[in-house]
């Protein structure tokens, strides 16, 4: 087993030898894609289907913002609007945010980063994609057939008694999707435990692997609970048993407990992989070892563990007991500490680094700035007294969009640009990419910052028509939404363009130090000619650094 010393100097101009076999040109035709067990091809399948779902979710968002440009409900009827925001929530959360980084970047990179030939259960990995597509098709059928108007939270007794929409259809779609996440997470945990390259100890793992591992823990422990809760919901709606319906002896707050037990850790499923991507981007583009590697690694695990203790802060005004609300508020403040550690360490990594302004790093900066604002407004919501005022208002809407759109989507775009050369062997156009990043940053802030003010002024969320005094800020928000929409459209064009005529990308265009950069771009079917041996901790860029640490 030869030691694959990773040459930390960007090699751009190496011409690709004709006839070299890589995972893209090893086989052609629909069968080779639809029956593949190669984790890299499955990642591409996920990339395509998840991007389509993102477009569907985005369309709903545009319609919502158009409706909210004017106080009276004049674009669509109240029922249609209720279906719009529900489906925007369901599609964006369950079909885009939760699977995107683990299934696209994780599937492609986990085996590469740990020096394995493939994931532990390749067939299970392909099954996970088919389960995702089944869930997506069931939910899309439910949407086309009539949509669902309960909000993505499916609160009872509205969802089980008053709603005359396709609640069970959508619930079954989301339920099937849960199995897809479980299969992917199970694959990651077993692969990271049992299939690391020789010499690759836990503290030599890249931080993206640490955060993917922590995300998989949350998926494995949380998803079964939402699956069975949706089963109970469907049973109550079909059989009319009063599990959550007070008229028949049930308790609606029990549904909220079971629902949020998964759905709060789910927001960490969405943001943790993004943190992993940002850790990779910050070290590579400042060409410096991450500041406090152990703290950042254990912060991911701490978020995964503490994430399960805080779900009650969604229920401060729901009739939950004051005693429980105080406990959940206290723990919600503790869960904010690991995230603050990560932000501190990313910023400290830049200190005395050699910072290269390329698109992935711009997206990483966007993530750090916007995630910090999103996280700190979380402190406002964790304060019980203030939450009584701002719960279920646009303050909450702005908070979670700052974390999910400002955080996860920014980091996903950064990761996509960063690993695009490795996935396709082509470089994206740097100029257009920087422009896209700027448009997204501006559009995003114009859309969601006014909603903080709207929220504190008391505009409730999920409102089809609102009081006239809220119009000024809503118009600003709607204007921002159009810019944001344009910002997201741009990368779709130049990424497709780069497939044809993007510059050739060598094995290591950024001069990064991960194992995935030690193989060719795009990688051969079995990732490495010979399984690499790892002797150094990650992110060692210079010779001096090597012997200091080595």
């Amino acid at each position: 087993m030869t030691t694959a010393t990773v040459e930390p100097r960007p090699q751009m101009r190496e011409p690709r030898p004709r006839g070299r076999i890589d995972y893209l040109n090893v086989d052609f035709g629909a069968r080779s894609w639809l029956l593949t067990t190669d984790h890299k091809r499955i990642a591409i399948l996920y990339l395509v289907s998840i991007t389509l779902m993102f477009i569907v979710g985005g369309l709903f968002a545009v319609l919502i913002r158009l409706e909210l440009a004017t106080p009276p409900g004049d674009l669509v009827s109240a029922d249609t609007y209720n279906r719009l925001f529900t489906m925007h929530g369901v599609v964006m959360l369950f079909f885009f945010l939760i699977p995107v980084i683990p299934s696209v970047l994780g599937n492609f990179l986990v085996p590469l980063m740990i020096g394995a030939k493939d994931l532990a259960f390749p067939r299970l990995n392909l099954a996970s994609w088919y389960v995702y597509m089944t869930g997506a098709l069931v939910a899309l059928w439910a949407m086309l057939a009539g949509g669902v108007d309960t909000g993505w939270t499916f609160y009872t007794p509205f969802s089980t008694r008053s709603s005359h929409s396709y609640v069970i259809g959508t619930a079954v779609g989301v339920l099937i999707l849960g199995f897809s996440s479980i299969l992917t997470a199970l694959n990651f945990v077993v692969t990271i435990h049992r299939m690391r390259a020789p010499g690759l100890t836990w503290f030599r793992l890249p931080l993206f692997i640490w955060s993917t591992y922590a995300t998989s823990l949350i998926i494995l422990l949380g998803t079964p609970v939402i699956t069975v809760t949706l089963l109970l919901l469907a049973a109550e709606r079909l059989l009319g048993i009063g599990i959550f319906d007070p008229r028949l002896g049930g308790d609606p707050i029990l549904f909220q407990h079971l629902f949020w037990f998964y759905s709060h850790p789910a927001v960490y499923i969405m943001v943790l992989p993004a943190m992993g991507v940002v850790s990779e981007l910050v070290t590579t583009f400042s060409r410096k070892t991450i500041f406090g590697y152990h703290f950042v690694a254990f912060a991911s695990i701490a978020i995964a563990v503490l994430g399960f203790l805080v779900w009650g802060h969604h229920m401060f005004v729901s009739g939950q007991s004051v005693y429980a609300s105080l406990i959940f508020s206290f723990l919600s403040y503790l869960v904010a500490v690991p995230s603050a550690i990560k932000v501190f360490n990313w910023t400290a990594t830049l200190h005395k680094g050699s910072v290269a302004f390329q698109t992935p790093l711009l997206y990483a900066f966007g993530f750090i700035a916007l995630f910090t604002i999103g996280g700190l407004t979380g402190l406002v919501l964790a304060a019980t007294a203030v939450d009584v005022h701002v719960h279920d208002t646009y303050f909450v809407v702005a908070h979670f969009h700052y974390i999910m759109v400002g955080g996860t989507v920014m980091a996903y775009m950064g990761g996509l640009h960063y690993w695009w050369p490795k996935m396709t062997g082509r470089m994206y156009p740097e100029g257009w990419a920087k422009l896209g990043a700027l448009i997204i940053f501006v559009g995003f802030n114009l859309t969601f910052f006014p909603q903080f003010v709207l929220g504190y002024q008391g505009m409730p969320r999920r409102y089809h028509e609102y009081a006239p005094e809220f119009q000024v800020l809503n118009v600003m928000s709607s204007a921002g939404a159009t810019i944001l929409g344009a910002g997201y459209a741009l990368p779709m064009f130049y990424f497709l363009w780069s497939l044809r005529s993007g510059k050739e990308a060598g094995p290591n265009p950024w001069g990064a130090t991960g194992l995935e950069w030690a193989t060719s771009s795009p990688p051969p079917p079995h990732n490495f000619e010979t399984t690499p041996t790892v002797t150094l901790p990650p992110y060692i860029y210079s010779r001096k650094e090597a012997d200091v640490v080595g």
Binding site: P246, P252, T347, F365, A369, A385, V386, D392, Y456, P460
Partner: protein
Amino acid sequence: MEPGFSLFPEQASTFAGPVDTVYFAIVLVSVFFSALTAILLFFFAIKYRRRSNDEFPQPTIGSSRLEVSWVCFLIVVFLSMFFWSAQVYLAMARPPDHALEIYVVGRQWMWKVQHLEGQREINELHVPLGRPIKLVMTSEDVIHSFYVPAFRLKQDVLPGRYTSLWFQATKPGRYRLFCAEYCGTDHSRMGGWVTVMEPAEYEAWLTGATAPATTRPAGTVERVPADDWLLGGRADLSMATRGRQLFLKHQCIACHSADARARAPVLEELAGATVPLQDGRRAIADDDYLRESIRLPRAKVVAGYQPIMPDYPPDQLDESELQQLLTFIKSLKRGQTPRRNEETPPPVRKDDR
């Protein structure tokens, strides 16, 4: 609610001040940390930008002392936020004992309000200035949420259970009322106004000097079925009196008479007392206990009595009537249980109420 642009709504209750203070404290801390992060990012990125391709920075592994002190500092800051806001939250949780009770029923897509003196309102709430008000709320169908931004208060209104919200208004005026928990098609039209009046003005209003107020969502012309419920709210028939009529109409008097040897417990001085139950547990006779004992009597059977009381589902006794019955039971002092043979005003039929 004068129009015009303001960063935050008016402060019209005793909670508004403390909540805004906690909010601004946290916002200040947030602005400080966000600005610090942004400035450091920008400064480091410019100062240490990559000048040449083979430039390799010095290796700095990190200092755990700095990290641990950062964590401790964070925990102190965060927990101080927690204790400060918990202090205000505890005040919100415990209404003072002598608060003026007003009963609210939320249903799909309107708020029905009943005052003890009998005045009724839809999507409107008139309250006196400077007195603690306790709203006892329930829902007839799905979860709603009674939200008054000017008071900085909201409380989910659950079907099958009472939830309460208390405030003390500090500034006269009209403030917006919203429903904050998604409840269906007209969730966004289920709102209205809270009017805070001087105490004298409020007394005049209560005695029916002014017409019963209603805020109809803009554009609805047709007669809302609640109109007759509204017109029935004459000031001379207080909730307790109406509750007494229901007590007699539904033959509660047949079992719940004044003497203790009867087949059902005496209801005098019941509110707030501790009731021994058949299975040895003890229950406090709060609103929820009274409601459950009327809706599902067999849920908590009082020690020494047989479970023979029939259920009273919502179609026999709707939420507003149940609240009136509750007010009557809670107003019963020693010896005030009506005697069985007392002539009662003619039984009030449902439609001519």
